[in-house]
């Protein structure tokens, strides 16, 4: 490995610092707005809030239905993660290891459904959930979100399972492990990094989704947080203060997850390692 010169180090840091500041600018702006008094989006370049106050946070959290909506968002996201990851793991393993009729077609279906614009599945989905009595229901949201998450998860996990050497499984089979034993004792533990990313992705899909949620819920009690948040940004007047505070509350759990899973995130997206 080449030893970098001091100048190279300084240039690299200057480049990264500039880019990071540019990237963080909108986020800092929102953070600042959430802590400043007033609802307007008047902008100054200073990163410090003018007239600092926690009033916006108090207003958003103090809303009588906030806890209920937080619960809805949490259950929808957690449910999607569990359902999506379980289904995607089994399907991805089969696609990676077995050759069966419909193997290629199945993979293509998973790829193809990703391409059909979800926005335009809304009308038929609405009718379907209505018939099943799942409108205004978290279960309905979990089902809808899972189907958005599964195709991506399957593709991603299949790619990772492909990199786990078959020899490991063959050895296990010689040692007398059953097919399901191999799946649970060897493939799943080895696939942990990819599964973590998949779970994170499913969680984010559900937590960040808003068009479907606002379509399939009509009562404030069954809103998720993004739908609640959207209501602060009206057609003509926008409560930027409340919106900023709400945006930060909604984004926090996802960002916390990023910190917790950062290592796995990178490792999981790596199509390399046989290291285990």
């Amino acid at each position: 490995m080449r030893r970098p010169t001091l100048a190279a180090k300084i240039i690299t840091h200057a480049f990264l610092a500039t880019f990071t500041i540019m990237t963080l600018f909108p986020v800092v702006l929102v953070l600042k707005k959430s802590l400043s008094a007033g609802q307007d989006f008047a902008v100054t370049l200073s990163p410090l809030p003018d007239h600092p106050t926690l009033a916006h946070y108090r207003a958003v959290v103090g809303h009588p239905l906030f806890l209920r909506q937080l619960f809805n968002s949490g259950v929808a996201a957690a449910g999607t993660t569990i359902v999506g990851v379980f289904l995607a793991c089994t399907a991805a393993y089969a696609f990676s290891r077995f050759r069966f009729p419909g193997h290629r077609a199945g993979m293509m279906v998973f790829l193809a459904v990703q391409m059909f614009p979800a926005t335009l599945l809304m009308i038929p989905l609405y009718v379907l959930l209505d018939r099943l009595g799942l409108l205004d229901n978290i279960l309905g949201l979990i089902l809808v979100y899972s189907t958005t998450a599964i195709p991506f998860c399957v593709w991603m996990l299949k790619g990772y399972f492909d990199t786990i050497p078959k020899e490991l499984e063959e050895a296990a089979r010689i040692d007398g492990a059953s097919r399901f034993g191999i799946f649970f004792r060897i493939v799943l533990p080895l696939g942990r990094p990819a599964i973590a990313v998949t779970a994170l992705f499913s969680f984010m899909t559900a937590w960040n989704e808003f068009i479907m949620a606002s379509t399939f819920t009509s009562k404030e009690r069954s809103y998720t947080l993004p739908v609640m948040l959207q209501h602060y940004v009206g057609e003509f007047t926008t409560e930027w203060g409340s919106f900023a505070a709400g945006a930060i509350i909604v984004s926090l759990p996802v960002m916390a997850l990023f910190y917790a899973l950062q290592k796995n995130l990178v490792a999981g997206l790596t199509a390399g390692g046989v290291k285990g």
């Binding site: 989006f41 379980f86 009729p101 926005t119 335009l120 599945l121 379907l128 009509s218």
Partner: protein, 562 residues
């Protein structure tokens, strides 16, 4: 051997017979109920109009009270509530009962299940009817289909003056007509005859099956629907078309021997299927069914709550440019060009920025690597609609941060959404901010999995940095980067939130991409669901062709790098 053949023939024809049964059942019940209720329709429309007239003249309470006396009839006034109306999703406007023959429901929203109490139809149906009535300014009447546990119902809605409210009459409708036993007998006989024919003509049996399905549908059309007059004809055409499709499908599948191989394969690959089936069933129910419904919609024209079959009419309208000049944003090819530009620019920027940052961040000697990485990932963590709304605010001409920064450097403020170039720039900046972290993480992960000694070896061999990048790094990144780019293109092509929330298509619809254009046809330009669905199908076909080609290219060039 013989038994297996009989079995497979039965399986093939069982499928055909089942399809016939489902088709005929719906057809028959629907047709009979229609005739029975055609008379009531007129009566109910009259009632609704009366009610609306009396409501306008201030006689509403008495009109309601009188109607409440008549058993089975429900009457109500519906009001579109401006405060809770959703401006974005027209079809989800909150509506309330201004008055109801059941006083408890006064001021209750239309959506609440209490409002229906199992008697009334679903709020979506009522809503469609209210929209239809207020659009055309005349009573709209509709018969809902009978279902298990729910009777066919008659809904009539008349608009009131001002068109913000409507009067609704619900008629209990009549019981569904049961199927005659003869029908089942015919069906079983038909399946038997088909199976026997299949045994005699083994190679032709699938064609026979296809023809039988077609023949049955044609017979049902002639015998059951034609006598009904215009209603029967509009109902029959799409059903006949669907049956013809099924018939052709059967013939093709059968001729190729796919049916038999399919069932043999089921036994052989039961382990694989055990793993795949849960995900497949989930996908089938929640993606494929709406998908099929969505695709079918493309062949219909939706006007005021009722659908009529137009064949390929929607596609013709779109692909011929719909009579708009090529420079008109309503022209399909204009929007398509914008979409391609949008996708190419964004994905190029995502990959370039992501790769550049990853190349810098992979250096082992760099301090604070983790911190940079965590900070640069933040845009990915922020939900895209929040991103869009923040940037929309930042591009505001007067208060926006972007113009403030420009002013700081002594530049004139820009009115971002009044020209195509600046509006598109605003969209692209927003989407680039949103999208580069994903590519960065992908590149970073792939780069870290490349063992360092390869570079050491290359250096010993005298390879320059550029050579190392072009000959080592890029080829080794391919397996991770290629799928990411293919997916990135698809996501960007369908990036709804940014375009819809940031530029809103301004100026004059020029910055719309195909997906927002489709959405606007569905929800902002007169509920043309059929046309919107046709747009969706076209988008789908484009992306399917693209990813097929991209995968071919990926496969074809794989060998070049060993």
């Amino acid at each position: 051997m013989r038994r297996r053949e009989i079995g497979s023939a039965l399986v093939t024809f069982g499928g055909g017979a089942l399809l016939c049964a489902v088709l005929a059942l719906g057809l028959f019940v629907r047709a009979r109920n229609l005739t029975a209720t055609e008379q009531m329709e007129r009566g109910a429309a009259q009632l609704a109009r009366d009610l609306a007239t009396r409501a306008v003249t201030g006689d509403a309470t008495r009109a309601l009270a009188e109607l409440a006396q008549r058993p089975g009839l429900i009457a109500a006034f519906i009001l579109a509530d401006a405060e809770t109306a959703s401006t974005k999703y027209n079809f989800l406007k909150r509506r309330r009962y201004l008055a109801h023959s059941d006083p408890a429901l006064k001021n209750k929203p239309l959506e609440s299940p209490e409002a229906s109490q199992g008697r009334a139809s679903s709020s979506k149906e009522i809503y469609d009817l209210v929209s239809a009535a207020s659009l055309k300014g005349a009573p709209a009447v509709r018969v809902t289909a009978a279902e298990p546990g729910r009777r066919a119902q008659l809904l009539a809605v008349a608009p009131m003056a001002g068109r913000r409210a409507a009067a609704l009459v619900l008629h209990p409708g009549s019981e569904p007509v049961p199927l005659p036993g003869l029908f089942w007998l015919l069906l079983v006989l038909g399946a038997g005859v088909a199976a026997a024919a299949g045994q005699l003509l083994p190679r032709a049996r699938h064609v026979v099956a296809g023809l039988l399905v077609l023949g049955f549908a044609a017979w049902a059309y002639g015998a059951l629907l034609k006598p009904l007059g215009p209603t029967g004809t509009t109902l029959g055409a799409p059903i006949l078309a669907a049956a013809a499709g099924v018939a052709v499908l059967f013939a093709i599948l059968g001729a190729l021997g796919i049916g038999e191989r399919f069932f043999a394969g089921l036994r052989e690959h039961r382990y694989a299927l055990a793993y795949v089936s849960p995900a497949m069933i989930g996908i089938a129910v929640l993606v494929l069914i709406p998908f099929v419904v969505g695709v079918s919609l493309a062949f219909f024209e939706h006007r005021h709550g009722s659908y009529s079959f137009v064949g390929l009419g929607n596609f013709k309208e779109i692909l011929s440019g719909g009579g708009h000049a090529l420079s008109d944003p309503l022209n399909f090819y204009f929007t398509f060009g914008v979409t391609m530009l949008w996708t190419a620019v964004n994905v190029f920027l995502h990959v370039t920025i992501g790769l550049a940052l990853a190349m810098v961040l992979k250096q082992q000697w760099l301090q604070l690597r983790g911190l940079y990485r965590v900070l640069l990932i933040i845009p990915w963590a922020v939900p895209s609609y929040i991103t869009a709304l923040i940037w929309k605010g930042m591009f505001h001409q007067q208060y926006g941060a972007v113009n403030h920064v420009l002013g700081f450097f002594g530049l004139q403020p820009v009115s971002w959404f009044s020209s195509f170039t600046t509006a598109m720039t605003a969209n692209v900046v927003t989407n680039t901010w949103l999208g580069f972290p994903f590519m960065m993480v992908i590149c970073l992960g792939a780069l870290q999995s490349i063992p360092g000694d390869i570079y050491e070896a290359a250096e010993v061999d005298g390879a320059s940095r550029t050579q190392q990048f072009l000959r080592l790094t890029l080829p080794l990144l391919r397996p991770a980067l290629f799928p990411a780019i293919i997916n990135g293109c698809i996501w960007t092509f369908n990036q709804f939130n940014i375009i819809y929330l940031v530029s809103r298509g301004e100026p004059g619809g020029k910055t719309n991409i195909l997906i927002t254009e489709a959405y606007r046809w569905a929800f902002e330009r007169g509920e043309r669901y059929g046309l919107a669905a046709a747009y969706a199908v076209i988008i789908f076909v484009i992306l399917l062709g693209y990813s097929w080609a991209a995968n071919r290219v990926a496969k074809g060039t794989e060998g070049a790098y060993g």
